[in-house]
């Protein structure tokens, strides 16, 4: 039990007539880097939002770090770090001010906050940019800052929704290095992505199509289940099926 970080059972979300996520059942283990893969509209973002307490499930339930997202969404929020698809930090605050603010909002004060901000700043190497407005950062730096803000409270579970969209290859590689460092220290990471090379770097993957779970397993297993030689084949097969 203690090794299951995210336990999803029969999770369903409807928006009116549209079913965005349909009866999804998944278990993500502690310390795993777990990828959610699927074309646009496959339900990746909706799933993540339900898991961090931003959307209420229509049916089914899920626990994150042992907490029921339906019963205690606010307690779940203390246990997860979240990076949304769109840059969600304050562009009119500096890097340092954003970190201070989120440190404070996660309940850190005084010396404890300074210490945690210091650790995160060093981990992500943003020390030289503390005084720069977040809005003036490039995509790669924005993404690092967003990850930093999501890590301040040392969450056991991290949800990253397309964290590397619009980021250059070098910055993406650094980012993934950081993700694996975190996982090694026991953080569970659930990440959605469009990039096949990134999907290959996940321990396990779940492939979604129109809200349904299509395949689950290691990257080669998933490719095989969908019927492609590589993951990329599998993805394209799926996308063509969805659009057709």
């Amino acid at each position: 039990m203690t090794d299951v970080a995210v336990d999803i059972r029969d999770l369903t979300r409807r928006f009116g007539a549209l079913t965005a996520v349909s009866h999804l059942t998944l278990r993500i283990l502690r310390g795993e880097v777990f990828g959610l893969l699927g074309p646009n509209g496959s339900g990746k973002t909706t799933t993540i939002r339900m898991l961090c307490g931003l959307l209420e499930p229509t049916e089914g339930d899920a626990t994150v770090a042992g907490i029921d997202v339906r019963l205690a969404p606010e307690r779940v929020k203390t246990q997860v770090g979240y990076m949304s698809q769109r840059f969600g930090l304050y562009e009119d605050l500096t890097v340092g001010e954003n970190l201070d603010f989120y440190g404070g909002i996660y309940g850190l004060r005084g010396a404890a906050r300074r210490q945690r901000v210091g650790v995160v700043v060093e981990f992500l190497g943003v020390g030289g940019r503390l005084g720069q407005l977040a809005g003036q950062l490039s995509g790669g730096w924005k993404q690092r800052l967003a990850l930093g803000c999501a890590l301040l409270h040392q969450p056991p579970v991290l949800f990253l929704d397309e964290p590397t969209a619009g980021v250059d290859p070098a910055a993406r590689r650094n980012f993934w290095r950081a993700i694996h460092d975190l996982a090694r220290d026991g953080t569970t990471v659930l990440v959605t992505t469009h990039y096949m090379d990134e999907a290959e770097r996940c321990d396990r993957l779940a492939m979604l199509s129109l809200g349904h779970l299509i395949a689950l397993g290691t990257p080669p297993e998933v490719a095989q289940q969908v019927g492609g030689k590589t993951l990329e084949d599998a993805y394209i097969i799926l996308q063509e099926k969805d659009e057709g």
């Binding site: 931003l54 209420e56 969404p73 606010e74 307690r75 929020k77 009119d92 909002i105």
Partner: protein, 369 residues
């Protein structure tokens, strides 16, 4: 409430960086005050007047002079006939006319009724009112003098001594400036917080914020707190300008005034937050704020006396916080009353402040749907 202060700090930094909004917030009190203080005068005086004096006697000149002396009529032209006078009023060159018929002095001398005519353009009732009253007054005074002379008396039998208290000069600024404190606070405070939540939603920062454990109350109170300071600053600016530029006497307790104003500021900010939870875009937030502002200006008693409104509107106006705040403002600033006479209004404002915050917190959900 440990997440409250980080929220306040963040709002404060953002407010400081948003130079345009800041400029508008600090500029509005000054511009509004000068506009209302100088341009808007409800006591209309010196209206352009055309005179037709067919009598051309010392008596006729005396009555024309008496009318001019009231300060309500400013003679711009003398005409020979009625036609010219009517034409001048129709074209808007004049707003009033005085006609003294050829037999004026003769009738006066004979002891029969002499008449003169005062024509006022009443298409704008506000500007014609005082002219009409002045004309009637002039006739009455002349009548009394003539009657007293006939009766052989040098003094009048009756004398009403009227004392206009609290605003002896019946000046507009004295009446307008205290109300302006309330109007400016309503306009800026409601609008500023009305866009507060939707702006975060539109910029994409709300999602990141509500995925944290911050409570709804911490979020809401943190959002409004920095603007309480802005409100107090605006109020101070209006009072200082009112005192030193427009000579408005500020007689009451300033401490009491600030304490009560704090309630009104919080109520207005909370109303804005409530609006913010009702709408999807900043544009809708602004429209809804203006929808609320118009009745605040028209029904609260800021410009038009509530006593003159139909009963139904008087009741509606009680739902507007400004209505109650105006009573407090005028009570403290002009009459110098203490807490006693305005206690009911203070309680009502408390109710508005607490109720509106509760409503905003209740309406706001930390989810995306």
């Amino acid at each position: 409430m440990r997440r409250f202060w980080p929220m306040v700090r963040k709002e404060f930094i953002q407010m400081r960086r948003d130079r345009l909004t800041l400029g508008i917030m600090f500029g509005i009190p000054v511009v509004q005050l000068l506009m209302f203080g100088y341009a808007i005068q409800t006591d209309v005086r010196h209206i352009p007047t055309v005179v037709v004096d067919a009598s051309r006697t010392p008596e006729s000149r005396a009555i024309i002079q008496a009318l001019e002396n009231t300060g309500n009529f400013r003679i711009v032209a003398y005409a020979d006939d009625r036609g010219t006078l009517d034409d001048a009023i129709a074209r808007g060159r004049a707003q009033a006319g005085i006609v003294v018929p050829y037999d004026y002095a003769r009738n006066l001398g004979r002891g029969s009724t002499a008449s003169f005519q005062v024509i006022v353009d009443a298409s704008d009732p506000l500007s014609s009112q005082s002219a009409l009253a002045a004309a009637a007054g002039v006739a009455q005074v002349r009548n009394l003098e003539l009657l007293a002379a006939l009766a052989g008396r040098s003094t009048l039998p009756l004398d009403a001594r009227i004392r206009p208290r609290y605003n002896p000069g019946l000046r507009s600024p004295t009446y307008i400036v205290p109300g302006l404190v309330g109007l400016i606070l309503t306009m800026t405070m409601v609008l500023i917080t009305a866009v507060a939540i939707v702006r975060e939603r539109e910029r994409g920062t709300l999602e990141q914020l509500i995925v944290t454990p911050i409570s709804r109350t911490e979020l809401m109170l943190g959002k409004i707190t920095p603007y309480v300071g802005v409100g107090l600053f605006q109020m101070t600016a209006v009072l200082l300008l009112g005192r030193f530029v427009f000579d408005v006497p500020l007689v009451g307790s300033i401490g009491l005034l600030y304490a009560v104003s704090l309630l009104f500021i919080v109520a207005s900010l909370s109303l804005g937050l409530f609006i913010s939870t009702l709408v999807k875009t900043q544009q809708q937030a602004m429209q809804l704020s203006f929808f609320f502002m118009l009745p605040s200006i028209l029904l609260s008693g800021f410009m038009f006396p509530r006593e003159a409104m139909p009963v139904a509107f008087q009741w509606i106006s009680l739902l507007i916080p400004l209505t109650h705040f105006l009573k407090i403002l005028r009570g403290i600033l002009l009459k110098g009353v203490g807490i006693g006479p305005i206690a009911p209004q203070i309680l009502i404002l408390c109710g508005f402040a607490v109720g509106l915050i509760a409503l905003a917190v209740r309406r706001f959900h930390k989810t995306l749907d």
